[in-house]
C-alpha cells in the first residue's frame, strides 16, 4: 500500500481530537468546518492563480495558512498537503506545487464527501 492509499483508508478528520480542542461541542465544530470551507474556496482559487504565476511567496504563505487552520480542525491529510505546498513555495519547486495543489483539491473533496455522508447516512 503506498502513501496515498494509506491516506484514503483513513478518515479525513480526526473527530475526537478536534472535538476535544473545542470542548466537545459538535455543532460548534460544524460551524468551524463551514468557516473553513468558505475560507478554503477563497484560498484555493488564489493558490491556483499563484501556481499559474509561479508566485512562490504566495504559495508558501497560503500553504502555511491552510496548514494552520487544517491542524486546528484535525484535518490531518489537508494539513499534510498544505505543509507540502508551503514547502514547495519555500523550495520554489513548481512541480511539487502543482502536484500538491491537485492533492489539496482531492483531499478537500474527500472531506466534503465524508461530511455529506455523515449528515445523510445511506439507509443500509
Amino acid at each position: 500500500m503506498n502513501e496515498l492509499d494509506m491516506s484514503k483508508a483513513l478518515t479525513p478528520i480526526d473527530l475526537s481530537s478536534a472535538l476535544e480542542r473545542i470542548g466537545g461541542d459538535e455543532s460548534f465544530l460544524y460551524d468551524l468546518i463551514n468557516i473553513y470551507t468558505e475560507d478554503f474556496s477563497e484560498k484555493y482559487s488564489r493558490l491556483q492563480q499563484a501556481v499559474e504565476n509561479e508566485d512562490f511567496e504566495t504559495i508558501r504563505e497560503l500553504g502555511h495558512n491552510l496548514k494552520g487552520s487544517s491542524a486546528n480542525l484535525s484535518l490531518i491529510h489537508l494539513q499534510k498537503v498544505s505543509y507540502d505546498l508551503e514547502e514547495s513555495g519555500k523550495d520554489r519547486d513548481l512541480e511539487k506545487a502543482q502536484k500538491s495543489l491537485l492533492l489539496l483539491d482531492q483531499e478537500f473533496r474527500r472531506l466534503q464527501d465524508y461530511l455529506a455522508q455523515k449528515n445523510n447516512p445511506s439507509p443500509d
Binding site: 476535544e20 480542542r21 473545542i22 468551524l32 468557516i35 473553513y36 504563505e61 494552520g68 486546528n72
Partner: protein, 311 residues
Amino acid sequence: MKVLIAEDDKVSSKILERNIRNWGYKVIISNNGQQAWQAFQKGEIPLAILDWMMPKIDGLELCQRVRQLKKDHYTYIILLTSKDRKEDILEGFRAGADDYIVKPFDTLELRARLQTGKRIVDLQNQLIQTNLKLEELAREDSLTKLWNRAAIIQLLEEELHRSQREKKPVGTILVDIDYFKNINDTYGHLVGDTVLIEVTARLKKKIRCYDRIGRYGGDELLIVLPNCRLDEVEEIAERLRFAVCQKKIQTDMGLLEVTLSLGAFSSEKQPTISAENLIKASDNALYQAKRMGRNCVVINKYFQTLTQREA
C-alpha cells in the same frame, strides 16, 4: 480580564474566542496585525495572544511595538505559532514575548498559560499600585520642605492613636495665607513661592519642637500639635499669626505685607475623634476666620459644644 486575540486564521480565531470567553475573560478580536495595533494604542490590554504569521504587521513586530509603547500597565504577550523551531522561539522572546504556544494548541495548556499570564499581570498591577502609593507617601513637599499632604495626614493619625492611648489631647491648626492667590496673580508664582517659603520658615520657628507642619493644600498648611489643649492651641495659633503679620516679607517685588487666617481645634473634649473630623473642625474654624475678616485665629466652637453635650 481582557484578552486581545490577533489571528488572521478564522478557524483558529473562533476556537480561541470561544474557549477564552468560556473561561471568563473578555475577548477583543483582531483579524490582522494592523487592527490589533490600533487596539493596543487605544486602551489597556493586559493579556494578548498574537499569531506569529500575519500579513503586514506580524506577531513578532506587534510584540516589539507594544513593548516600545510607554504604558502604565503591563501587557502579557503569548505568541501563537506553528513554528516550533528553537531559534524562532528565541526570536519571539527577544522581541518581548512572555510565552508562546504552538499551533494546533492544546486547550488545557492554553488555559493554564493564560492563567499564568493573568497572575503575572495581577502581580504587575499590584506593583504599580504600590509604587503609586509610595510616590504619594514620599513624604516631603519639594517647595517648602514640609511634610506633604499624605505624610502630614498620616502623622496626625499616628499622633491621634498615641494620644488616645495616653489620654492626651491633640491640637490641629489649619493655616491659610490671606489673599495668596492675589499675590500669585499680581507678582507671579516665584514671588508666591518666596512668600510661602518665608511663612513656613517663620512658623517653624514658633512651633514647639515636637509639633509637625505639612503642606495640606496649595497655600494651606496643617500643623499637628501633640498634647495640646484648646487654650494652648489657641495661644500657639495666635503666636503664629503674629509672627507673620508683624514684619513684612522681603521679595523680588519689594516688601509685602502678608497675614494669616488660622482655624484651630483640639481633641481635648472629644478624645475619640477621627483625624478626618479633627481636620474638618479646623477647616470650619478657618472658614470662620476668613469670614471674620482674615488675619485672625478662630477656635472651633461647634465641636466644642457638641463635645460638652455628649459629655
